[in-house]
């Protein structure tokens, strides 16, 4: 077992983790980023990012590649294929991170494990996973050429992914439980424009939820319910794409930091301190996360700035959020 010591260990190489790594490495802090897959996180699934200030348009993999290279150019070390299984606060105040037989330790840890797809939790969903049920439009749309699919959701990702599906499937029915979309207005406008085209292959059913997915061997229909009228129908389709938000990837942390009932990491939301001194949080996995690319990056940067205050004065960890904290004071 190797045992290497760092100033900062960042868990997760998505936008939050890479944002933090850029700042800590520029501060010449010995920085290790542990990533269980390749760098990227959820943003890797987005083929068109238009809401990151200063960049008119880029795809997720392209942006992540830049972020990774930028961090590495200042000395951040990124280890991929490294799944953290356990963390431990040591007697000297440092934190040990265990990852597949290796032990790394650091003065500070930034938790940025991100989030994964939320399930609907309806009958048939698990059974037909890979047999018509999917959570990734960019991955699986090409398998539904010439077929009818249903897309569930109403946020930014749901709208983007539904528009992508409409390029492949014969017919796409988007169902949304409310009568109005939460997604950014420009995306909603694009969606409605597509819906209103002559002979459009895209239709929207508002105030509608899916209550069951049915079929034999593969998806053949989805049971829909109008939440206003209570009316139900069996709606024929070959695919059900589920885009209803994210759940935090924090299962491995439940014995280490305080989580909410839904698995989000508790923190002060200003300095991003968790209940464990020396352990910060950044990105989608924290309470109050806006689940956006720009806010994930911002979180990483905040944690990277605030950890200097902790290095300076360990007692700061338990102090309330204050307006006296000035960069000059660091």
């Amino acid at each position: 077992m190797s045992d290497v010591t760092y100033d900062v260990i960042i868990i997760g190489a998505g936008p939050a983790g890479l944002g933090a790594a850029l700042y800590t490495s520029r501060d010449r802090l010995k920085t290790l980023v542990l990533e269980k897959f390749q760098p990227g996180g959820q943003i890797i699934n987005t083929d068109r990012i238009e809401n990151y200030p200063g960049i008119e348009q880029i795809d997720g993999p392209g942006l992540i590649e830049r972020m990774q290279k930028q961090g590495e150019s200042f000395g951040a070390e990124i280890k991929t294929g490294c799944e953290v299984t356990n963390l431990e606060k040591l007697k000297d105040g440092s934190i040990a991170v265990y990852c597949d037989g290796d032990k790394f330790s650091a003065r500070v840890v930034i938790l940025a494990p991100g989030s994964g797809y939320r399930n609907l939790g309806i009958p048939g969903e698990e059974e037909f996973r890979g047999a018509g049920v999917s959570y990734c439009g960019t991955c699986d749309a090409p398998f539904f050429k010439g077929k009818q699919v249903v897309a569930v959701g109403g946020g930014n990702t749901a709208v983007e992914e539904t528009l992508h599906l409409a390029k492949f499937a014969d017919k796409v029915t988007m169902i949304h439980r409310r009568d109005e979309f939460r997604a950014a207005k420009v995306l909603v406008e694009e969606l409605l424009k597509k819906v209103n085209e002559p002979n459009s292959n895209l239709i929207i059913k508002y105030s509608t939820v899916a209550t069951a997915i049915k079929g034999e061997g593969k998806v053949q229909s989805v049971k829909l319910k109008n939440v206003k009228t209570g009316q139900e129908e069996d709606y024929p389709c070959s695919g059900v794409f589920i885009f209803i938000g994210m759940v935090p990837n924090t299962d491995f942390l439940k014995d280490f930091v305080e989580l909410t009932d839904r698995g989000f990491i508790k923190c002060d939301c200003a300095y991003l301190r968790t209940n464990v001194p020396g352990v910060f949080v950044a990105g989608d996995c924290r309470i109050g996360a806006a689940m956006q690319l720009a806010t994930a990056v911002a979180d990483g940067v905040i944690a990277a700035m605030m950890l200097k205050q902790y290095f300076r004065d360990k007692k700061w960890w338990n102090e309330p959020v204050s307006d006296l904290l000035q960069p000059g004071g660091w």
Binding site: G81, R129, A131, C139, P142
Partner: protein, 116 residues
């Protein structure tokens, strides 16, 4: 085969490499357009290395090896199928939060005790 490395398979050599393999085979059905497929690559490389001699790990590009992908009813990628004696014995669809551990849990019951 080169032990411990990922092997690319297609329609032509699927039978010889996978169905007629002496050791169990983990086949990754993937495509270049699929973000999670790329993300999972380091995990598969690591598994190929750790189980070398006892497990073969293959990658199948569904865009190129369409016939095999259709024959196996692939509708979501990445899909990992575990083959033993030419039969599918288990499957993992998508990347799960604990992917590496989840994949290992599915593989291990199908492996012979190490000869070494």
């Amino acid at each position: 085969m080169e032990e411990g490395k990922l092997i690319n398979v297609g329609d032509a050599d699927f039978e010889s490499q996978v169905l007629k393999s002496d050791v169990p085979v983990l086949v990754d059905f993937w495509a270049p357009w699929c973000g999670p497929c790329h993300m999972a690559a380091p995990v598969l490389e690591k598994i190929a290395q750790q189980y070398k001699g006892r497990l073969k790990v293959c990658k199948l590009n569904v865009d190129e090896a369409r016939r095999t992908a259709i024959d196996h009813g692939i509708m979501s990628i990445p899909t990992l199928n575990i083959f033993k004696g030419g039969e599918i014995v288990d499957q993992i669809i998508g990347v799960t939060p604990g992917y590496e551990s989840d994949v290992k849990k599915k593989i291990e019951p199908h492996l012979q005790e190490s000869a070494g």
